[in-house]
């Protein structure tokens, strides 16, 4: 593999994973399926709009894939499309940017649909004050999708206008400012990280009480922290740009706010651990994934502190430290939560149970491989290895080899897990209506749920809590 191929690989990896997989992942798969059931509704409020979201999603993917196979070659700018390089490269920038733009619309419409559904479609007695926490997390996410995504949309339109009409927004050669591009890009892309992680936190807030077999500890605190993240998360974006030469006032403000946005996440972790206290804990596969989530998410969160603090961020910025931090949050965090959700809800979605032994083996392999793969990158980054490097100096060699071995272990774990899930969904033993003795509404309907979920809309006015 030559440097050009390598550069295209990390670019396309970023675009596909961020825009196609991680952002829509949890909301689209589990949100669409379980949001209506969990609030006692037959479907989302705008089913046709939902279908349009799906069409736009497919169209967006096809557009992104076009960039790979047509003349000019796959884009090589990194998923951030930083100006002015993104205007100078001869690779297929246009389809990649357009694809991200279309996927953005899919995301906006999904957010809009979910927010409206939550406001208008709750069953009698299902109040905001007793709504399941997964629904709350989807609600917070929906507002971020609705407010933040249009900014990246307009930014990508500006890139297209600049590239084809030569209007100088960002390219200094045309009188533009490349730092303005970075601001606009991160005003969306930092909140986008919360689009990725909030639903994951929602999943964990469902799974832990179910397997501790008691209610969540600190419901109100978890709801408040979800909404705090959704709001404060808008105002931290420039911590991606501490080395761009912006004013010290801006650096002070963004660093301070970045430390503040860490607090709600910490509050969630404390409440999850407290939920385990005096529970009667069943150690099942979804709980194992959730506990793994907590560990990896904590490492991701704590290493984020180094990136919020200006002095340390400047040292590790754009090194493999950042790559490791981000993957701990998104892959270790959101990825583990996705797997936790899959193991939690698969029996409901398919009515069948997977093999629990192989599921545990899959998790253990994933967990070991994950840490062997990403932990060395923290050390490499602190030692100064820049990211997006096709080739590196000799002193970085050994840890990179360790990392590569970790990637093989991780891949093995993922294959075991996915194969086991598919086999379970097809041929596993019947799971029954409520295999985990869960308390939320999805466990009151047959597995798999019938079309339109409920024959009769449930009435919760008499029950005290749904969460």
């Amino acid at each position: 593999m030559g440097p050009q191929t390598y550069n295209s690989f990390f670019t396309v990896h970023g675009i596909i994973m961020i825009f196609v997989i991680v952002i829509p992942g949890l909301p689209a798969v589990f949100g669409n399926f379980f949001l209506p059931i969990m609030i006692g509704a037959r479907d989302v409020i705008f089913p046709k709009l939902n279908l349009l979201s799906w069409y736009l999603y497919v169209l967006g993917i096809l557009t992104v894939l076009t960039s790979l196979f047509t003349f000019g070659g796959a884009p090589d700018t990194g998923w951030t499309f930083y100006a002015p390089y993104s205007f100078k490269t001869t690779t297929n920038m246009f389809p990649a940017v357009l694809g991200a733009f279309i996927l953005g619309f899919s995301s906006i419409l999904t957010g809009l649909n979910f927010i409206t559904t939550i406001h208008r479609m709750r069953a009698p007695g299902m109040k905001f004050s007793n709504m399941p926490l997964f629904v709350w997390s989807i609600y917070g996410t929906g507002w971020i999708q609705l407010f933040a995504t249009p900014i990246v949309g307009i930014t990508l339109m500006m890139v297209i206008a600049e590239r084809f009409l030569h209007i100088g927004f960002f390219d200094p050669a045309l009188g533009g400012d490349p730092v303005l591009y970075q601001h606009l890009f991160w005003i969306y892309s930092h909140p986008a990280v919360y689009i990725m992680i909030l639903p994951a936190m929602g999943v964990i807030s469902e799974i832990i009480p179910t397997f501790a077999r008691k209610g969540i500890f600190g419901y109100n605190a978890i709801v408040a922290s979800t909404m705090a993240i959704a709001v404060v998360g808008y105002f931290v974006w420039a911590h991606h740009m501490f080395t761009s030469g912006m004013s010290t006032t801006a650096q002070f403000t963004f660093s301070l706010l970045t430390f503040l946005v860490a607090i709600p996440s910490a509050i969630k972790v404390f409440n999850w651990v407290a939920t385990l206290y005096k529970g009667s804990i069943r150690i099942e596969v979804p709980l194992i994934w959730a506990l793994g989530f907590m560990f990896l998410f904590m490492i991701g969160g704590f290493t984020g502190l180094f990136l919020g603090s200006v002095a340390t961020d400047v040292h590790v910025h754009n090194t493999s430290f950042v790559v490791a931090h981000f993957h701990y949050i998104i892959f270790g965090g959101m990825g583990s939560a996705f797997m936790a959700a899959a193991h939690y809800w698969l029996p409901k979605m398919y009515g069948r149970m997977y093999n629990k032994f192989w599921a545990t083996v899959g998790w253990a392999t994933f967990f070991i491989g994950f840490n062997v793969l990403y932990f060395p990158m923290f050390i490499l980054g602190y030692q100064g290895m820049p990211r997006r490097y096709y080739d590196y100096l000799g002193q970085f060699h050994n840890l990179n080899v360790v990392s590569t071995i970790g990637s093989w272990i991780l891949a093995t774990g993922l294959i075991i897990t996915i194969v086991n899930l598919i086999r379970g969904a097809r041929n596993g033993p019947k799971a029954g209506m409520n295999p985990w003795e869960g308390r939320t509404l999805e466990w009151t309907v047959p597995s798999p749920p019938p079309p339109e979920n409920f024959d009769v809309i449930p009435d919760l006015t008499s029950t005290s809590t749904a969460h």
């Binding site: 206290y277 150690i283 506990l291 990211r387 100096l393």
Partner: protein
């Protein structure tokens, strides 16, 4: 983990250690409590769960304590950063020119070098100049990093007390040969630095515009200092663009506005390639990798380069 060599190392590493210790205590503590609860309250041992809906005292405690700790970490991170932003006025001013894919350093006396030689114990200010796209100057051993942005005057400064050589990397992704865009920073004792700094025999055409004595020497210097060498080798090996070795007078196939044609590499062709790199691209090489040197090279300098390229024939 590895040694530092500038006046900022203590401030940055203190913040780093502080955050590391606080994080490690919390990570180990929370994980231990979590695992203990899973063990202590497993179904077999504790068959009946106790409902606990929350505790205001605990919520306040675990909001307030982390907030205080976060503010302490914020403060140390800020304290370590402030001196990096304030360069002393009497610092040695060096211009760091970053371009795809090389660094070059220009000193006040017109000296130019692709190694950053600096005197020990003296403040050095690097004024960052990006010629084409974004780059970023990172010296891990000094704990400093700053983006070089076209049209913006960013800077770095530092004092190093430890003679030795240190790596400088480009840390803003800049295309094909990003990972090869690095340079050495050499910290020298005063007398050694002065000897090097005042030795102007190896000086390029920068200040007075006069070429060196041997044929092609001025051109040889220029292809170093202007970064041509990052993409065009002088030994026949293929990097990004065609090698300079033996190319003069050769017939080559070029792509002109999408059509192939054969031309001879002469003075006019080289001049055009310097000023309009996309006009005639040698077949088999990618367009869009080079920017025009119209604002950077004077006509006599281009002539010097051509003279140098001629000397590479038949060696």
């Amino acid at each position: 983990m590895f040694s530092g060599a500038s006046n900022f190392v203590a401030g940055v590493d203190t913040a780093f250690m502080l955050i590391f210790v606080i994080s490690a205590i919390f990570l180990v503590g929370i994980t231990a409590v979590m695992l203990y609860f899973v063990y202590r309250y497993r179904e077999k041992r504790n068959p009946v769960p106790t409902e606990i809906h929350g505790s205001t005292t605990l919520e306040i405690l675990w909001t307030v304590i982390p907030t205080i700790l976060a503010m302490v970490m914020f403060y140390y991170g800020w304290k370590g950063w402030i001196p990096i932003r304030h360069a002393p006025k009497d610092a040695l001013q060096v211009t760091a020119v970053a371009r795809m894919w090389s660094f070059n350093f220009e000193y006040p006396n017109g000296k130019s070098s692709n190694v950053l030689n600096i005197p020990r114990g003296k403040a050095v200010k690097l004024n960052l100049k990006a010629m084409d796209i974004l780059h970023s100057v990172f010296i891990p051993a000094f704990r400093v990093k700053q983006d070089a942005i076209p049209g913006k005057n960013n800077f770095l400064w530092f004092i190093s007390d430890k003679p030795g050589s240190y790596e400088m990397f480009c840390t803003e992704y800049c295309g094909l040969r990003h990972s090869y865009m690095n340079a050495l920073v050499v910290v020298m004792p005063d007398n050694e630095f002065n000897k090097w700094y005042n030795d102007t025999t190896g000086r390029t055409t920068g200040a007075d515009g006069k070429p060196g004595n041997t044929k092609g020497q001025a051109g040889a210097m220029l292809i170093q200092s202007k970064g041509c060498i990052a993409c065009h080798s002088v030994d026949g090996s293929r990097v990004v663009g065609p090698s300079f070795k033996g190319i003069f007078g050769e017939k080559v196939t070029v792509i002109t506005a999408g059509a192939e044609r054969t031309i001879t590499v002469d003075e006019d062709y080289i001049r055009r390639s310097v000023l309009e790199p996309s006009a005639d691209v040698v077949k088999g090489y990618r367009d869009g990798q080079m920017v025009s040197y119209r604002t950077e090279l004077k006509d006599n300098q281009i002539k010097d380069i051509i003279e140098y390229i001629k000397t590479l024939n038949g060696k």
